[in-house]
Symmetry: C2
Subunit: 269 residues, 2 copies
């Protein structure tokens, strides 16, 4: 005789399913005005992969900002005196510092650490990261700064709708960026735009196999998926897309703003 509890456990064991992280590299560069879904379609054809309903498609923010033209030609940036002084002190590009300040709502830290200038800001969206997420890239033969998308949740929702139209599938979309963390070395990818899924799994009230209530507030599943995709979205190769297949996420309306802790609940500002 097997108790229902044991049967349930056995079933869950037999159901143990793998998750696949499938990189989708590009042959060529994404440029302002390109269609992201067209570029993805070409890359998928080349890789002989199909997008399936239930997949999560992770896309690095840089290609999103590029297609949206959210770029600034560096030679057009006039850094302020403050930006020039600070940049000079740390050997940074004053134009990047200026853009980081322009893109920020507030500056959390501005300090030289181990000989490097570190500028931690709260972006207009509310993300806390280095240099407001401003990156440098070569576009059309000129040095450009790539800014974070203006509204990454909206970009994710638009891309998701385009994928549904183009491929007839219902997927979740995550736009990711590499952020540093306090207390720990190294960058990991986080979700800065989300569409089609709940970004948090709330365990409050749920119980573990012993009947203990799980106190953890929630699991940041969208960040976990973004971070996992970071293992294949290489920094040196041209792989801005990753299909994450087999994740048990909760489909529905959700956005990356839910992942931002409210200032009044944050102990480290």
């Amino acid at each position: 005789m097997t108790s229902p509890k044991v049967r349930k456990l056995r079933d869950s064991i037999q159901q143990a399913k793998s998750i696949s992280l499938i990189p989708v590299p590009l042959k060529d560069e994404i440029l302002p005005g390109d269609s992201l879904s067209e570029k993805l379609a070409t890359a998928l054809r080349h890789q002989k992969i199909r997008l399936r309903s239930g997949d999560v498609l992770v896309v690095k923010h840089k290609v999103v900002s590029k297609t949206e033209g959210h770029l600034v030609r560096l030679s057009d940036v006039k850094p302020s005196r403050d930006a020039r002084v600070w940049a000079g002190k740390c050997g940074l590009d004053a134009r990047i510092v200026q853009l980081a300040l322009d893109e920020s709502r507030s500056v959390l830290r501005k300090k030289v650490v181990a000989g490097r200038g570190v500028l931690i800001t709260e972006t207009r969206h509310g993300f806390i990261c280095a240099n407001s997420g401003v990156d440098v890239s070569n576009v059309d033969g000129g040095e450009h700064a790539v800014l974070l998308p203006k509204d990454p949740d909206r970009s994710a929702a638009k891309f998701r709708a385009a994928l549904r139209k183009k491929f007839g599938v219902s997927v979740a979309v995550i736009i990711s960026d590499s952020f540093g963390r306090p207390w720990r070395e190294g960058l990991t990818d986080v979700a800065i735009g989300v569409a089609g899924m709940k970004p948090l799994i709330d365990y409050r009230g749920k119980r573990d196999p012993h009947g203990y209530e799980l106190h953890a507030t929630a699991e940041a599943i969208a960040d976990e998926v973004a971070c996992a995709a970071g293992l294949v979205c290489g920094k040196l190769e041209r792989t801005p897309f990753c299909i994450v297949r087999g994740v048990s996420y909760q489909a529905g309306t959700g956005n990356a703003r839910e992942l931002i802790r409210k200032r009044e609940n944050d102990l480290f500002r």
Copy 2:
């Protein structure tokens, strides 16, 4: 005619390899004194999976601490007056608060946030997390606190050696725990013990496809792998192991202490 650069890029595209996150659930509970490699062997047989050289095996710290007997019977804990007062104020278990303080090197924050008592400590190992990572579990019919392993890097190395002996494979081992983060909601898993791999990939001096030097200090690959495994190591199911297959990590000596930012370089203490 194809330029060497384009050829190289095409090659890298054809080589694009997926990563698999393979959950290894257990049929029964891990108890103090159990052999972790025996338990894993049974679970692998049941799942008809083989461990392969080059895999990363992620294991949740809780089962490591259990096999090592790093548990405390809650009824044996005598909380101090301070612990009782603070716990009473926030509706927490004073014994857990006492253990969290005992396991800490310093207290970073001790505050009531949104009606919940939050105690952020630096553990004896140097990790910064809530309640020094102290968990509650039912062992032998009595409530126990599960502490973090005494030396998670050593535990990882020992487990790795046992796997080599038992299965004849060379894998990397990561011991993980779920940590909260400043600024962002929800928990994600990080590496607290590492063996057989470099936990950081250093991109300093390397260049992107445009020849730009990548300024990011490093990628925390061990944390990325731990975080990815968190997608299958469910909080509600008994899945303490995850095989991560296909990751391009740098094999060799490495430990989780490298992931801890030095206090003097940390802007948020």
